[in-house]
């Protein structure tokens, strides 16, 4: 078991990776990536039951994770590399011609750790349900995790999937919603309010967990609580409060950093706030 300090050191390095990756190609999505660095670190280094040495796409015998909001690929790639799915040096190829680290996740070149393409929003919950049903067919007791942006919940398919999972008691599924309250065109309240998410999920017969996604102690508590609430007849949703851009003061809670890469000067300013804990790629 990793300590909170060890996990925080990893997530700090992941944040450095994110800044360096998007700055390196002057494109990509740092905001949501930074906000989700803590939960992704916790999932891959502490919470999920993984067989990294024998990675297979079908995920038989291990927990599975699906990134539905594929634009935050930098945080996924960094965590996968840091966890040993592929060499950390490959992070330098992000978004470059011929890379396995496509702008949005792809299975085209069989990058270990990526089981399904994402980028077109609203699809990952359905895919996660399918994987969870397969585990039930196979009498496998492992869990399926999905991650979604809050703005993504404006997609209709998400609500089809929420209705299905509740109605069919897909209780080996834990879906995490990154509630940062921001999307490209402004705040989620301004663009199309999500209303009372807790009440909505309860109405669809989901089991609810709330946590602060930018406090590692609370992330571990929340994810463990979600595991405890799984397999009790209901799918589990984790409503995770985060700040877009968390960890870099001038990016924090600003929607302009959803899909804007820092220039060299901004990147230097950001990296000065993030200690190099594990060595840069």
């Amino acid at each position: 078991m990793a300590t909170i300090t060890e996990l925080e050191n990893i997530s700090t390095q992941v944040r450095r990776d994110i800044i360096r990756m998007v700055n390196g190609v002057s494109s990509g999505h740092p905001g949501g990536s930074l906000g989700c660095a803590d939960v992704m670190t916790a999932l891959y280094f502490e919470v999920m039951d993984l067989d990294t040495a024998n990675y297979k796409r079908d995920g038989k015998g291990e927990d599975m994770f699906f990134l539905s909001n594929g634009h935050i690929s930098p945080v996924l790639y960094s965590v996968l590399a840091r966890r040993g799915y592929f060499l950390v040096s490959e992070l330098a190829t992000f978004r470059k011609l011929g890379t396995r680290l496509q702008g949005h996740p792809s299975v085209h070149d069989e990058l270990p750790g990526v089981r399904q393409a994402s980028g077109s929003l609203g699809q990952g919950l359905s895919v996660g349900i399918g994987a969870a049903l397969a585990k039930k067919f196979d009498s496998c007791d492992k869990l399926v995790y999905t991650l979604h942006g809050d703005g993504e919940l404006q997609e209709g398919q998400i609500w089809e999937a929420i209705m299905f999972a509740g109605a069919n008691k897909v209780d080996n599924l834990i879906s995490i919603i990154d509630v940062n309250g921001l999307q490209i065109d402004g705040s989620t309240d301004q663009v199309c309010s999500l209303g009372n998410l807790r009440a909505k999920f309860e109405a669809f017969d989901w089991s609810i967990v709330e946590m602060n996604g930018n406090d590692m102690t609370d992330v571990i508590r929340g994810l463990n609580q979600a595991k405890a609430q799984a397999k009790q007849g209901k799918p589990v949703v984790v409503l995770m409060q985060t700040q877009m851009g968390f960890g870099v003061d001038f990016m924090q809670n600003k929607n302009k950093w959803h899909g804007t890469a820092p220039n060299d000067e901004q990147a230097a300013q950001a990296l000065a706030q993030l200690k190099e804990t594990l060595g840069d790629y």
Partner: protein, 317 residues
């Protein structure tokens, strides 16, 4: 000319239903998903035999495609079915990302395709599905011609590892392909050999093409008839071999020319052996309500229309 006696009259959707049942018996990893149309698309046979492997998604086709992809990447062979209009156009982005681009082992089964759906009218008579599906990299597109071939195509789709779209229809149509006829994805069937004109047909139009060949024979014209049950990958070799002999071609389909079999055939000829070609199909219009037969006649999809097209194309040689 080679005789294909009519063995009966059955709907191609029932061929799918029987094929799915057989695929389920052969492989316990075959699962089926439907969006509130289990009886209509004939998944009921599979449901009765394997109730635990039948996933009812409700009227939510997008979610159905995503669940199918998740099951498939986890090792299942996932058949997802609805009316072809809703199994393709309504969920194009889901198929594009979760099935084709992700190369998941999902079989999209589109029932009630084409104008022969009849009375339900244009909202349900999809005439663009072949085009949408064939444009997607990784996607195999099957359009079998009768009950027996649809059954065989379904079994072949289950055994093939990768995304497949299989299109079939609602009305009872002649059964003429022998049950023991081998089915190989991508391998066209030359149903009749001829020397004057090549008739390349798919789906319900294959029977019409055979009837056209009979009429032409009575008038002293020798027509080769090729059954294209696989639109993609197209059996280029079989078509080019035939056109090298006949020097002209008529494409026949119950679908828009744009994006359909005719477009694929025209590309093939233009690139390899430019020869006169005529199109039987739908010319940039929606369908409408009516009996299947009345619609086939109004939209020019009958044997007599193929006969006339054959004469026109021969005259252009």
């Amino acid at each position: 000319m080679k005789e294909y006696p009519q063995l009966g009259s059955k709907d191609t959707r029932s061929g799918f239903g029987e094929g799915l049942l057989e695929a389920g018996k052969r492989n316990e990893n075959v699962v089926a998903l439907c969006a509130d149309l289990i009886g209509s698309v004939r998944m009921d046979l599979f449901q009765e035999a394997f109730p635990e492997r039948m996933i009812e998604c409700g009227i939510a086709e997008s979610n159905m495609i995503g669940i199918a992809a998740g099951l498939a990447l986890s090792g299942k062979v996932a058949f997802a079915s609805s009316f072809a209009a809703f199994a393709t156009g309504r969920v194009y982005d889901q198929i594009r990302q979760a099935v084709a681009y992700s190369n998941t082992n999902v079989k999209i089964a589109g029932s009630h395709a084409g104008i022969t759906l009849g009375e339900d009218g244009a909202t349900h008579q999809i005439l663009e599905d072949i085009g949408m599906m064939k444009m997607l990299p990784n996607m195999v597109v099957l359009n079998p011609c009768d009950h027996n071939q649809t059954k065989a195509a379904t079994i072949a789709a289950a055994e093939y590892d990768g995304p497949v779209y299989i299109r079939y229809g609602r009305p009872k149509v002649p059964v003429f392909i022998p049950e023991d006829m081998p089915f190989e994805i991508g391998k066209a069937l030359v149903l009749n050999e001829g020397t004057d004109v090549t008739l390349v047909a798919t789906g319900h139009l294959v029977w019409e093409a055979l009837q056209a060949a009979k009429i032409l024979e009575e008038e002293g014209i020798s027509a080769e008839v090729i059954d294209i049950h696989t639109i993609k990958p197209l059996d280029n070799e079989a078509i080019l071999k035939s056109v090298a002999k006949t020097n002209c071609l008529v494409g026949c389909e119950e679908h828009q020319y744009n994006g359909g079999l005719n477009e694929s055939l025209a590309q093939l000829l233009v690139r390899n052996n430019p020869k006169p070609m005529e199109f039987i199909g739908i010319d940039d219009s929606f369908g409408e309500s009516g009996t299947p037969d009345a619609l086939m006649e109004k939209y020019g999809l009958k044997a007599q229309n193929i006969v006339e097209a054959a004469k026109r194309v021969i005259a252009r040689k």
